[in-house]
Symmetry: C2
Subunit: 150 residues, 2 copies
């Protein structure tokens, strides 16, 4: 994939929460999993092992800071962290808060699990409750990253 065609190279700046010279943190704005934050390396690099060891460590440190604040502010039942890049081969990390009553738990968010209708109301209530706490989580995350990466 050419950088000109790469959606992460041509990123909508309005979803950026925090940016530093080598990486940025965005709200994934996922319609189904609201607690979904991405950490994206700026350069159009395909794999983590294409970075230097120091760059990998620096990037993962940011990923786990996101995880920490997400846990602190949203208290999910589990955090999922993943870097796939099959569709967009540009290094990026998904940090996803999961709840037992979310639409696909305990499967991955990529597994098209269908929960019984009896659980749909609860899943919808959970989604709404998380969405309402997102602004507070995002602000706490920005404050935290500003302290660590002034």
């Amino acid at each position: 994939m050419n950088p000109d065609d790469c959606p992460l190279c041509q990123l909508d700046e309005s979803i950026v929460l925090f940016s530093r010279p080598k990486w940025r943190v965005i709200d994934a704005r996922d319609p189904v999993f609201p607690a979904f934050t991405r950490v994206i390396w700026h350069a159009h690099i395909k794999e983590m092992s294409d970075l230097t060891r120091t760059e990998r460590t620096d990037l993962m440190a940011v990923v786990f800071e996101v995880e920490s604040i997400m846990r602190e502010r949203l208290n999910p039942d589990k955090i999922n962290v993943a870097s796939l890049g099959n569709q967009v081969p540009h290094v990026h990390w998904h940090v996803i808060g999961r709840w037992r009553d979310d639409p696909t738990f305990p499967d991955s968010i990529w597994t098209p699990t269908k929960k019984p209708v009896s659980e749909e109301t609860q899943a919808a209530a959970r989604q709404k409750s998380i969405a309402s706490r997102l602004p507070e989580y995002h602000q706490a995350l920005i404050n935290h990253l500003n302290r660590l990466y002034p």
Copy 2:
């Protein structure tokens, strides 16, 4: 989940490729995705952010060494790295080599994609070809980790 019920605490030692005091590397022996290696923290810890910053860095360094050797020896089209733990909340990392002609590419391995029958023969040939190269990859990985973690 109690450690007594945790499959990663009660791990079959025969699949362990390499072990050090805090972590081990295993062959996932996945029937569909043969290039699948796991890095598992020994202690029954739920999230990466429950480890110290140094422990996280040390663990991720191992994950990316696995990635490096997998690329060098098996040359996949993409590497997927993920820590979900929804079913087994004990810190472990999946390192998965992916090929354009594997059964679910470019979707995640957790997405039950069904490729057209016309592509099934190619996917089966790919699977067989990777499987035949696994012993060489595993030996190279063990040698590499032995050098880095004597």
